[in-house]
């Protein structure tokens, strides 16, 4: 099932062309990777899907229906959750309070209306466990978790609150090898839950580990659009690294590799 479909989408900021004729598909239970160097238009692309910006050319379809998202709230209401790079949490608050912040479940009536604390603790633990993260104490401040674990809490939160599409903006950019592996594992777990995932990255190795589709961006245009069975990691890395440009650079630097 195609959850999100972009066809020939363009975006201009004044006279600057940020995106030009970019196409992309997000299917339920699949991971679509968007690869590109800094300034390739990755951020603009996710901002359009997340409702932060509106496209000014081409077509955006959600569940096959042509649409235009006017705000992040509308995107959320239509099941599109975005986990931003500068992940927003309240460090001193316990994990379970962060998990439900802004959508707290309550019980009781009148002045005795109160947080359903047991449910909140239990659910936080269970939802994290479902993605395979075993947090022994959900009462610890979320600031004590590692960067990777915090990404996972954000992913679990999106899954729990009924997201159909999950956009992850460079989730492994600031992480070490082990932490990156952990995050990718949870990204795969979210996919197995049936979500359509958009993974933004500039690391072809991370993308190839989990991706089903690969969209390569360069200066706002699509330079490659592949499904997993049509491309190898070597090709992906080669295209991502700039292909012929890298060869030219290697030549300029004296071509020591070639002897």
């Amino acid at each position: 099932m195609t959850l999100v479909e972009l066809t020939g989408v363009s975006k201009h900021y004044g006279s600057v062309r940020a995106l030009d004729g970019v196409s992309l598909e997000v299917h339920a239970g699949e991971i679509t990777c968007v690869l590109g160097d800094n300034g390739a238009g990755k951020s603009t692309l996710i901002k359009i899907i997340a409702g932060l910006h509106q496209h000014d050319g081409g077509v955006l379809r959600l569940d096959g229906e042509e649409t235009r998202l006017s705000s992040p709230r509308e995107a959320l209401d239509r099941g599109i959750a975005t986990v931003h790079q500068d992940l927003a949490v309240v460090p001193l608050m316990p994990v379970w309070r962060n998990f439900f912040l802004g959508s707290e479940p309550r019980k009781g009536a009148g002045p005795f209306k109160r947080l359903d604390v047991d449910f909140m603790r239990r659910t936080t633990r269970a939802e994290l466990l479902r993605l395979g993260i075993d947090l022994r104490d959900v009462d610890q401040p979320i600031g004590t978790l590692s960067g990777g674990e915090r990404q996972c809490v954000a992913i679990a939160r999106a899954v729990y609150f009924g997201a159909k599409v999950l956009i992850l903006d460079e989730p492994t950019a600031a992480l070490g090898v082990k932490q990156s592996g952990m995050v990718l594992k949870y990204v795969a777990a979210a996919r197995d839950e049936g979500l359509g995932v958009v993974l933004i990255t500039h690391n072809p190795h991370h993308a190839y580990l989990v991706g089903d589709r690969f969209v390569l961006l360069k200066r706002g245009t699509t330079v490659g659009h592949h499904t997993r069975d049509r491309i190898t990691l070597e090709e992906l890395t080669h295209q991502m690294a700039g292909g012929s440009e890298l060869e030219a650079l290697s030549h300029e630097l004296g071509g020591r590799d070639r002897g």
């Binding site: 927003a88 309240v90 460090p91 309070r97 439900f100 912040l101 802004g102 109160r114 947080l115 004590t144």
Partner: protein, 346 residues
């Protein structure tokens, strides 16, 4: 063998988890300090342990504590209110002068004072959220303005720096009973402010720990941008916190009025810092996001014990401020250290 070691490990983990939870309680430092100060005065001051002395200590603590509770919530929400001290006086003056000038039942003045005081709180909150200036500046401004208005209006209306007595006016006995009476429990005098204080601590703890509003207060103080991103009404939460401080100021102001029946218009200056000190000693993080109402009560109790204990011990009361300052530093350092430990011990 393996199962046994696992069991031990599990047990050790459980111990460390509960120990960490205890250590991360915001009020821990202040409780340790309060016990120490209590022991010192119990040994040094004859009669400190007498029921009447303890009642005096509790009364002194309650007058600070009633304001320390909402000031602590505000601080957990990440803001200050430097106008809190003089707002108490304003509230008392408005109540007294309204009743006197209208020759009305004192409850009319009490009601008008409630509305006016809450309006000042709302004004502080709106000014802060609209201008986005630091609360230090905004409330320093209202602090100075209120100080001037307290003196200016009192002189303009009554001709002197204090209000006229309202003790002979209709409704005074009832209002005195509610805000300034003394109950006798088992032969010991208990001031009614102690009950107000305990009630406020209970309500504030309930709000902070068990309601959605409490979650919002912690989040707004801890990371306002993150809170806004998930749909927390940040501005509304801040305005409500300032109105909470105003509510405390109204209760304190009515106590001030009905225990003496006249109000000195220059009072209250400097008290705002005492409320803040009580909240900080009680474990409130000055940058917001962490703290408790119970902690603010222990902070106020420390204040009451020290101020009265020095008198009972017949020490020179000039040293009171020195002890207060030393306690503030020690409590803050202890809280800082405890939190570092709690966060490091994963």
């Amino acid at each position: 063998m393996n199962a046994a070691t696992d069991g031990i490990r599990e047990e050790r983990f459980l111990q460390s988890a509960s120990a960490r939870r205890l250590l991360s309680r915001p009020e821990l430092g202040s409780v340790v300090g309060a016990v120490a100060v209590f022991v010192v005065f119990a040994l040094a001051a004859d009669g400190f342990l007498r029921a009447s002395s303890l009642s005096t200590v509790l009364y002194a603590s309650s007058t600070i504590g009633i304001m320390a509770v909402p000031v602590a919530l505000l601080m957990i929400g990440g803001e200050f209110d430097l106008s809190a001290g003089v707002l108490v006086t304003s509230s008392a003056l408005i109540s007294s002068m309204t009743s006197y000038q209208l020759t009305a039942n004192v409850w009319v003045g009490v009601g008008v004072s409630l509305l006016a005081t809450l309006a000042v709180g709302a004004f502080n909150g709106f000014l802060l959220t609209r201008t986005r200036l630091p609360s230090f500046i905004v409330t320093l401004g209202t602090f100075l303005m209120l100080t001037g208005m307290n003196l200016g209006f009192t002189k303009l209306i009554d001709g002197t720096v204090s209000t006229k007595t309202i003790a002979d006016m209709e409704g005074f006995p009832a209002a005195h009973a509610v805000f300034a009476s003394t109950l006798t429990v088992g032969g010991v005098d208990v001031k009614v402010t102690i009950l107000w204080w305990l009630a406020l601590v209970a309500v504030a703890s309930w709000i902070l720990l068990r309601t959605r509003a409490g979650n919002w207060i912690l989040a707004v103080g801890g990371n306002a941008d993150a809170a806004r991103a998930v749909g927390v009404p940040v501005a509304r939460t801040r305005v409500a916190l300032y109105m909470g401080v105003a509510l405390g100021a109204w209760i304190s102001g009515q106590h001030l009025l009905f225990s003496y029946d006249v109000v000195q218009s220059g009072e209250g200056v400097g008290n705002e810092l005492i409320y803040i000190i009580a909240a900080v000693i009680g474990g409130c993080l000055i940058t917001g996001g962490h703290g408790s109402a119970v902690g603010s009560a222990v902070g106020a109790l420390l204040f009451g014990m020290t101020s009265k204990g020095i008198v009972f011990a017949e020490w020179n009361p000039d040293w009171f401020k020195f002890f207060l300052g030393a306690m503030l530093l020690l409590a803050t350092l202890l809280n800082h250290w405890v939190r570092k430990r709690a966060e490091a011990a994963k």
